[in-house]
């Protein structure tokens, strides 16, 4: 499965030029931290926080072309808004897995590590 939209990535290459690596490294960094926060919020059943973090993850992922990951986050955001707390944990699992895959692709195609 393709976790990165190539048109968007190419546009970003154009915009960021040599700093494309920095952008994606920062992205991975931010997501990693936010995922930890997300896990805690779900544990605490803090619906508001869950919603906010999911929304933020969704946003930045869309910006870098990680659309599959972004879609998952959107689902969680919606569920959090509608208060369907019981689905959160399973959605989190999906999100975490998706992130691993996305990260791999980023590392292979962009960061070249």
């Amino acid at each position: 499965m393709n976790y990165l939209e190539s048109t968007l990535v190419n546009e970003l290459r154009e915009i960021m030029e040599d700093d494309i690596n920095f952008l994606f490294s920062a992205y991975i960094e931010d997501c990693t931290a936010q995922l930890l926060e997300l896990a805690t919020s779900i544990e605490q059943q803090d619906g508001d926080k869950v919603r906010r973090i999911a929304h933020s993850l969704k946003g930045s992922s869309r910006n870098v072309g990680a659309s599959v990951f972004s879609d998952h986050c959107e689902k969680l955001e919606r569920n959090a808004r509608e208060g369907m707390t019981d689905t959160w944990i399973s959605l989190l699992k999906e999100i975490e897995n998706c992130f691993i895959e996305t990260k791999n692709q980023i590392q292979k195609e962009i960061l070249l590590t």
């Binding site: 970003l12 929304h55 969704k58 930045s60 869309r62 910006n63």
Partner: protein, 564 residues
């Protein structure tokens, strides 16, 4: 441009700022709503990108905070939103945003919007600059107007407007609506008044007033008659004023000793000559085009002469009164004014009464303010009053030791008034300036005698009847116009004496002569108004020769005659 980005997401900030920086803009990044507000006021950006969802204050609140102060310049706000609901999007605009961009960030759209707002911002700035410039010029203009007003008042309103027998009302904005009121005393002690109304408004009208008042005061001071002053004024205005600009005038000369008023109305509303005893009102209509229209060659002035004594009043107005309108746009009108003149004629101050009535009628104090009127009663005559113009400068002694002879024959006799020239020549002798009135009187009396009773052979007894006055002056003016033969010769011989000087006047005319002895016995005014008695009073001696055709008058003056 300097652009502020407010977004809590580092990745978004990074991408957006890079897009903008590549376009050459300077970017300031804020991570929270509070920081966004702080940076806005600190750095004064020209454009703001605002993320809607931020942890502390959301985008809407930030937008409201920074647009609260309307007095500061306009800064466009573009919301960054992933919201798609129409209500949410509309809310962006409602709370002070100017546009929104949806995420993910599309650099083409961002660039296009930034350019569009940049254009609008420039336009706005241009307008602000122009507004400042206009304000500056406006202030400057007002300052200049104030200065112009002061100069105008100094030039146009010197003279004797403060005299007891004059009431007037002059619009404070007269400099800008072209109204002019002038009053001067001639060397002979006559009071000369002029109420003028220049067409047009503003500075062009005011500028026309400058040469007009110079001519008025300059020539009146030197003793020129109304006819000469008006001819000169017309010539000057004709050459100076642009087409379509002219000057409506009423000018009047009041001779207190002869008890007569000479009036000329050119284009103004009728002046009212009021007899307070009989309550009759003589309307003096305009019989001539306003000044500045006709070329000097075609200009002809025929003033009217009326009796004017303590029982008379003159009222002159500009067209402001008649044309004043009430709320229904009905004009005040001539009929109403005549009615009010009849009603107010015995008041001490008719001007005020009329102005108040107009204000009542129009229910508009401002219109009332804009009126110009003149009310004159009989003046106190003082030969003694000298209106010495400080700006005249003559060398000392000048013509102290000199003689002059001028002979005016037939065709020139009616056309040229030699008195001002003779007077000026004599007055080149500075020491004679305090004697100006007396010398003028002597010259004037002798000359008029020679012309009217000598050459023209007029009978001044005619002047007594009520019709007689007008008749006499009509005869005089007809007579002068028809003259082809005859002459008046005027000579003066000025010689210095140890304590001053002596002027010998010799006046000769081609008339039939008169009985000097008989005339000098009569002490009344019936002869030539002032008559020989006055001359005898002023001169050291008066002799007659050649059956009265030649008169010699001698005037002695003393350097110490300060208090004449």
């Amino acid at each position: 441009m300097k652009i502020l980005i407010a977004d809590d997401n580092r990745i978004e900030r990074l991408i957006l700022s890079r897009v903008l920086e590549k376009e050459g803009h300077e970017v300031i990044q804020a991570e929270t709503g509070t920081q966004a507000i702080e940076f806005f006021f600190k750095h004064n950006p020209s454009l703001v990108f605002l993320d809607v969802l931020m942890p502390d204050l959301d985008g809407y609140e930030v937008a409201q905070a920074i647009t609260k102060d309307e007095s500061q310049r306009w800064v466009p706000i573009i919301f960054l939103t992933s919201l798609t609901d129409a209500h949410d999007l509309a809310k962006c605009i409602d709370c002070g945003g100017d546009d929104f961009v949806s995420k993910p960030i599309n650099q083409i759209i961002i660039k296009a919007k930034v350019n569009a707002f940049s254009r609008i911002s420039n336009l706005y700035e241009t307008i602000e600059n122009q507004k400042t410039e206009i304000q500056y010029h406006n202030d400057h203009l007002i300052q200049e107007q104030e200065a112009a007003k002061k100069i105008f008042n100094n030039i146009a309103h010197r003279g004797c407007l403060a005299a007891d027998n004059i009431n007037y009302h002059l619009s404070p904005m007269s400099i800008f609506n072209g109204d002019l009121l002038l009053a001067a005393e001639t060397p002979m002690g006559s009071m000369r008044l002029m109420l003028a109304d220049f067409t047009g408004h503003g500075l062009p009208a005011a500028i026309g007033a400058m040469p007009t008042s110079e001519i008025f005061y300059g020539m009146s001071n030197k003793g020129y008659a109304i006819t000469d002053v008006m001819a000169e004024m017309n010539a000057r205005l004709h050459s100076v004023l642009p087409r379509g600009v002219f000057c409506c005038v009423i000018v009047a000369d009041i001779d207190a000793i002869d008890e007569r008023i000479t009036i000329w109305n050119a284009g103004s509303p009728s002046a009212y000559l009021i007899d307070l005893d009989s309550e009759e009102i003589e309307e003096v209509h305009s019989r001539h085009l306003p000044l500045g229209i006709q070329s000097p060659q075609r200009f002809k002035i025929e003033p009217q002469v009326f009796r004017f004594s303590k029982r008379h009043k003159l009222l002159a107005v500009t067209d402001g009164i008649v044309e004043s309108e009430n709320e229904k746009h009905e004009m005040y009108g001539e009929a109403r004014m005549l009615e009010k003149v009849k009603l107010f004629m015995h008041r001490d101050n008719m001007c005020d009464a009329l102005v108040d009535d107009v204000v009542d009628y129009t229910n508009d104090a401002e219109q009332g303010d804009d009126l110009s009127l003149l009310e004159v009663t009989f003046p106190h005559h003082h030969l003694k009053h000298i209106n010495v113009d400080e700006f005249e400068s003559h060398a000392q002694t000048g013509t102290l030791d000199s003689s002059l002879s001028l002979c005016l024959r037939g065709k020139s006799l009616g056309k040229f008034d030699p008195i001002p020239m003779l007077l000026q020549t004599l007055l080149e002798c500075r020491e004679l300036v305090p004697h100006r009135s007396r010398i003028f009187t002597i010259l004037s009396e002798l000359y008029n005698n020679a012309v009217e009773h000598g050459v023209l052979g007029l009978n001044s007894a005619i002047k007594n009847g009520s019709e007689g006055f007008t008749q006499y002056y009509q005869q005089r003016s007809d007579g002068l116009a028809a003259l082809t033969e005859g002459f008046v010769k005027v000579e003066f011989d000025h010689r210095p004496m140890p304590d001053g000087g002596e002027i010998v006047f010799n006046f000769t005319d081609s008339g039939k002569g008169f009985n000097f002895k008989q005339m000098s016995k009569k002490s009344d005014k019936k002869f030539s108004g002032r008559g020989l008695p006055l001359l005898l009073n002023l001169c050291q001696s008066i002799e007659h020769f050649d059956e009265g055709r030649h008169i010699r008058a001698i005037y002695r003056w003393n350097v110490n005659d300060n208090d004449i």
